[in-house]
Structure formats: structure tokens, C-alpha cells
Symmetry: C3
Subunit: 141 residues, 3 copies
Amino acid sequence: MQFFQKTIQLPRYGRGFHLITEVVEREFPELRQLKAGLLHVFIQHTSASLAINEDADPTVRQDFESHFNKMVPENAPYYRHNDEGPDDMPAHLKAAILGSSVTIPVTGGRLNMGTWQGIYLCEHRNHVSGRRLVLTAYGSG
Amino acid sequence: MQFFQKTIQLPRYGRGFHLITEVVEREFPELRQLKAGLLHVFIQHTSASLAINEDADPTVRQDFESHFNKMVPENAPYYRHNDEGPDDMPAHLKAAILGSSVTIPVTGGRLNMGTWQGIYLCEHRNHVSGRRLVLTAYGSG
Amino acid sequence: MQFFQKTIQLPRYGRGFHLITEVVEREFPELRQLKAGLLHVFIQHTSASLAINEDADPTVRQDFESHFNKMVPENAPYYRHNDEGPDDMPAHLKAAILGSSVTIPVTGGRLNMGTWQGIYLCEHRNHVSGRRLVLTAYGSG
């Protein structure tokens, strides 16, 4: 049984949905030591989130941004928490709906996702610096 | 510490929400070897998802289908990704909202869910063949 | 590699979103034995859920309650499952959207969340007794 853990800082991404599979794989080469295991990716923020979805057509990620803006609108009349601007409370809600972490099987030293799956960073704020992730991987070596 | 991993193919299910607890337990008898552990179930697709919810009354699962169709409608005017038909982009969004995996405690060789909990396969497309799951279980034996 | 598992009963909370980080830490002191690991928190119910979000301003949690009541309304005309009252089916839907578990890194014997992150119990029913959680923690000691 092996266990690896590491914190990384992502580069700054603008508001929207972004593929970060390659960043995670590059920053965490320890994954290659696992014959069968799991990778847990955790984002240490409450206004950005992580998801797994289609990694090919960029219009999918644009449609994610459009749909989440409709489903969780800015300036809803019932928001009380709006000190940090109209994108603040929607960002918290979107983050909870999508979730703060993803867990992915690792097999033969590689992420064992489906052909079209990738890891999304979901950036819900207009202006932020880079986000921090805690990566944890474990399994049989 | 024990670690098991296996890929299974589900039979074909129609669009909607389906209980798959028994399929998972039957296909992964290694679970019974764990005194205390966790089961991770991962779906290798971006237009179907997994959830845990009520396993008794089938109208709950019908209401899930109705509500998700309302909350994530087909033919929204802002969708750009619609090459594969009106059920395509909503399927990606529903999959991200519900999630690609569930993690469940295992205690005394059995899934340690609440009395009314079961594992749902959430099939968001109209026409697909069977979905692939990667099952990973680990813990003290 | 160490592995700990325990079931706890939460005190009764009213409908809404509640911080339970301190309860979890207090009830599971075994966490302190892990140099690097993960904590999995699982709720054994289908009408309450868990999330990670802002732990400072209480208006954030009030806005969560307002928004989820709008996004998943009571008495939707398409609900068939309503034997247990108007808060029943929305509770199941909210629980699936937010999820039945959270997984959090543990580093140096402490939960390794961001500065503003806390664990939310999301109570979606009007009247319930205390909820049960299964806590599982593992990693290198």
C-alpha cells in the first residue's frame, strides 16, 4: 500500500470551465507508481469547484458556463450575502452543486477515466489569483 | 490493508434513474473481505452519472427524471453543443451536477448505507449501450 | 497505513444549512494520528446531505436555503412522490444534487481545508431527529 500527498498551485484561469487533467498528471508523477489505486483532487476554495466531464469539444465548457449562470443567477432578490459583488454568492452555490473534490481510479500508473473524460476546474469568480489543490493518491504499488 | 479494483459493464438501461445496488454487490464479492473500508464506484462516461438516494418507492426515481428535465432543459437557446441531438448537452450538465462517482462505507463485509439508501445509475441519454463502471474497494481485512 | 471507522449521531438540527466541522473533529480524534490521509464523511439518509463551503458569514448559509428552495420547489406539479408532505420529494432531490458524502485531505493530523472552508450538514426536512454519519479516515501514521 502506497500513499502520496501534495499541494499544488494552479495558474490563474478566467471565469469559466477549464480542462486541468494534464496539469494534475504533470504535477503528480507519483501516480505512475500505483498499479491500482485512487486519486483524490481537492480544491481549497469555496467559490471554485471541480468536476469530470467531456474533454474534447470546447463548446461543452462554454455551455456549462451559460447554463450555470442561468441556474444560479447573479443578483437574485433573496441573496443577503453580496458584499463582494454579484458574482460572489452564485460562486458559493455553484461550488457546492459541483463539489470540492473528484476521485478517479488509477490503473497501471494512469488515470483510468473514459475516453472522453477530463478534469474540469470550474472558476466561478470574475477576478482571482491561482487556486490551490491538494492531491492525494494511494493504492497498491 | 486490502485493495481491490475491477471494471464491470452494466446491462443497457433506458433514460431515467435506476437502482444498481444489487448489481454492484453481486459483481464485486471482494467487498465481503473488508471488515472496515470504502467502496468507490466510478462511471467512465460524461452523459450518465451516479447518485445515492431512496431505494424503495419507484415514484421517487420518476420524479428525479421529471425534475432534472425541468432544471436542465433540452433545446435551451444558449446551447452551442448540439451535434448529437437535444438530449446531448443536458446529459453532460446533469452528469456534472450529480457526479461521476459515489463513495460508500463498507463495514463487516457489507455496504454500510442507511435503511433506505441505494445506488442510482442516472442515465441521461435516450439511446446508449451499457455503461462501464470501475469499482475500487479498500480497507482492513 | 492506518484505517479508522466510526458511526456518530448528530444532534437535531432544523431545516437549513449548518456548520458541523467542529462536531466531526471532536467525535473523531483518531484523525490526529494521520500524517497524510483522507477523511470520508457519509450521511446515512436520503433527505439530508453534506457539502463543503464558506464557514464564516452566516448569511451564506441562509442564501443556500433560499436558493435551493427556488431551484427545487415544493409542490411542483410533476411530483408523484408526496405521501410524506411537500418537503419530502424536494429533500430527495436536494440531497442528490449536493451529495451524500464529502472527502477531505488530512495533513499533520488536521483537516487540510482552505481558510474559509467548513463542512455543512444540509438538512432538507422540516421535522427529523438527529442524523447518522459514518466517518472513515485512513492514511500514513
